[in-house]
Symmetry: C4
Subunit: 283 residues, 4 copies
């Protein structure tokens, strides 16, 4: 009857409104909600961290738990509303953000049955990636795109490089294992490989370090090797960046010439000579 | 009366002279004063450092304090004279250098009421930045400008990058916290995040280091990850430097705009708009 | 007689088949075999690692040994078949892969007489390099070629650089030895040089670290030096990468030479010598 | 009389011969001598190192001393002969190599009066720089020149950069001193600055490391800062390398055009079109 219809339309209006609030980023309401959300994510991540700190946890355990529950409930409602309000709920549920939104609330409920599972709520940190959807500053998003581009372009080279590095770590690790032996911390080949990686990456904890003169000599060689090696990934990425940043700048390949003054260095998209103003050939 | 007037003019002369000494860098007197000032800054910074070294402090406490007071008084007088001699004292007071000049003297006076506050005088170190105003070597200043340019240009990208890094540190840190547990130093998630940053940046103190095989395996992965990651900021900055050094060839500073089509990316030496062929303004 | 002949031909067929399996990479059978091989290499390397881990070795010693023997026998048969099936066996035997294939099986047999030699089987890790022959993805192989090119091109510069670094490590090491003396770990000049390398490469174990103020001051200088120094190899490699990536535009590989004027730097697509205008050979 | 004259001429001949041996690098004799010299330098440096190693020194003290004396005497004779044989002895004596040659022999003689001074003979390591004069491989020397060029070009920028870094180390160090206090190793501001440098350069010994949560938080910030900072010198040097390596490559600025086929990308020194072989305009 008309009553039902009215209900329906009301519900539709309600859905529409929610959708604007949840997904809209160019409306004031939507933007505000997003910022509130961001704040809550930050807060909840901090709370979970606090929970793992002995001193604080003992003092404020109950308060922490309560706050976390409140936030979790809020997130749960948000999650449900997101599903209701969107056209293609299934698509959202199995999207990157959809899965994260789910993982952000699940652990808390699991913690009812398995205490301690609440720490897993830390995955909420991944929700920070929303930030880029939230603040629609083209500048930033452009930057991040450029970043991704350069990294993608250099990914393959770096993988090949890391593959070589890993093989050498196995060899070097084994040599150090044979040279140093157990007493100086090189208790096994995996351990020696761990040491090799710690050294090649110049992290150098010092929890394991060669004691025998020969071991230290080899270690020195490894370091100098790593010295040259660390240059490679940097070189790869940098070259990509240089490329992409050159691409973005208005390119001048010198393919255009002015018939009148024979000047050649024009922008590729130039229509007129910047020297004498005569029209340029369209090639 | 004429007497007052005389006084006034005398004072004016005095002010003028001081101004030349304090702010002038191309007069011999001004330059000399600046060098003396620089020397005093260096001296006072060293004195404050010495004061914190047990051995030295016990022996020469009084001498140190006296020297510091002398320098402080000198700086105070300088500060006052700067305010008097300049036209727009307010502007100076709230300028970067003005604030530093104030902060450079305050702590010492505070130390009368709160002993130990004298250490805060270390902020005087910031006065070293005057160096660039002092030695007016265009070379150097040009260099520093190029430096700032490149860093500014790459700032945004680096921020985006660091934002991603921070999120991953939270995730990695939490994983390590769960894997390693308390006994091997990963006492809390914040602590684990601290460890992650120490590792990703290849600092590697070794005050905390993974003990379990699984933990060490993940650590190794993190290091190799950091290996590739450290390349990114370098790549960003380098690309910028390369760009700026290439710009020297045929620069496009966007200083020119076409009256007709409002296109702005012209060569600085362009005479005509490459878009519509109309003449460009000569600025 | 005909019988012998038949045998011969049968053997020939058999040889042919094996050759396809062992060396063929574009046949399904060949590809499959290669993947199986790769899996076995990985397995055996892991086994040898496990063998060096106390806990695991004590529990599963016999099983480990048995598995290793099985794999070794498999590799031995493979090695023999490779020699039989190929046209130029000698060439293979003394090739890089041939030697590795031999070294991969020898240690196990040696371990019969010298227990513990089995660990040397770790050299099998070098067989991983086959991977690139196996997966004939032009992409990857192209990447690795570019990598090698850039590294080769920058090798010389890096060697010169390392030569200088080594001389400075000797000098710095000696200074630190004189400054710090025995009690703070700088027991000898070689040890100090080891410390210098550890510091210059920013590995920084902390097993040895300066204790005296002067020593720490020098160390700080060394670090800042190393700061600038670490930039050099990176700079070298990166420049090479940038070059190689720029070469893609209009390449000059110097493959062409002018018959008349012997000039060699031509574009690869050049038809005429830019020096004297005579036609260039099309290779 | 004729006798004296004969002597004189003989002496002249002798001087000439020696000069060829000592300074000549393109004669077989000269080359051989240089290599012998290089070998002796290496040997003597190793000997001095050995002398500082307890175990070895106790066993072979006398032998070491004897060998060192022999080499020293040889170097002394060489030094004297160099002075005699050269035209401008004074110029040589006060040249870089001249001073090093002297410093290489002095310590040993000093050790007669001050035992232990013999260790200073390590400065002989500096004689290794002769290597470049010895092996006249243009390749290598070219490389080293390119290296020096790039480093010189970027020196100023790096100095400016280091100046800024040093100021920040003072500020950061002081903050850490105030935050951490004595018990966690930050005993004084100089010590804290030492720690800051150790951290910013990603060396990270771990001999001093923050203990308080706040201290660790600041430390993390410093590391991430250092993360971005380490990029700067690399960026500077790399840009220089890229520049210099582009300079060396045959430049194509597109200033030339073929009248016939309108192709523009020619070498700047091209005389004929590589496309159609017609002469190019000389601009």
């Amino acid at each position: 009857m008309w009553f039902m219809k009215k209900m329906k339309s009301k519900y539709e209006q309600f859905r529409e409104k929610i959708k604007i609030v949840l997904y809209g980023t160019n409306t004031i309401l939507g933007r505000m909600f997003d910022l509130v959300l961001l704040g809550l994510i930050l807060l909840s991540v901090l709370l979970i961290m606090m929970e793992t700190v002995q001193g604080i946890n003992q003092k404020y355990h109950t308060q922490l738990i309560i706050c976390e529950w409140i936030i979790t409930v809020f997130f749960t409602i948000e999650y449900i509303l997101r599903i209701i309000s969107i056209q293609k709920p299934v698509k959202y549920i199995f999207s990157f953000y959809g899965i994260i939104d789910l993982l952000a609330v699940l652990p808390m409920y699991l913690s009812i049955f398995f205490p301690g599972a609440s720490i897993l709520s830390i995955v909420r940190a991944l929700r920070f990636f929303r930030l880029f959807k939230i603040l629609h500053i083209p500048q930033i998003s452009h930057q991040s795109i450029q970043l991704r581009e350069a990294i993608d372009a250099s990914k393959e080279k770096i993988l090949v490089f890391i593959y070589f590095v890993l093989i050498s770590t196995i060899i070097i690790g084994s040599i150090m294992y044979l040279v140093e032996g157990k007493e100086s911390g090189f208790t096994s080949i995996p351990m020696s490989i761990y040491w090799t990686i710690v050294t090649l990456t110049t992290v150098g904890y010092g929890d394991i370090s060669p004691q025998t003169p020969l071991g230290q000599f080899i270690a020195a060689l490894v370091m100098i090797l790593g010295y040259g090696i660390i240059a490679v990934p940097t070189g790869i990425v940098t070259a990509e960046f240089a490329k992409s940043s050159l691409k973005n700048s208005n390119s001048v390949s010198g393919k255009k010439t002015c018939r009148k003054c024979n000047s050649q260095i024009h922008f590729d998209n130039a229509k007129y000579c910047y020297e004498c103003g005569t029209e340029l050939p369209n090639n």
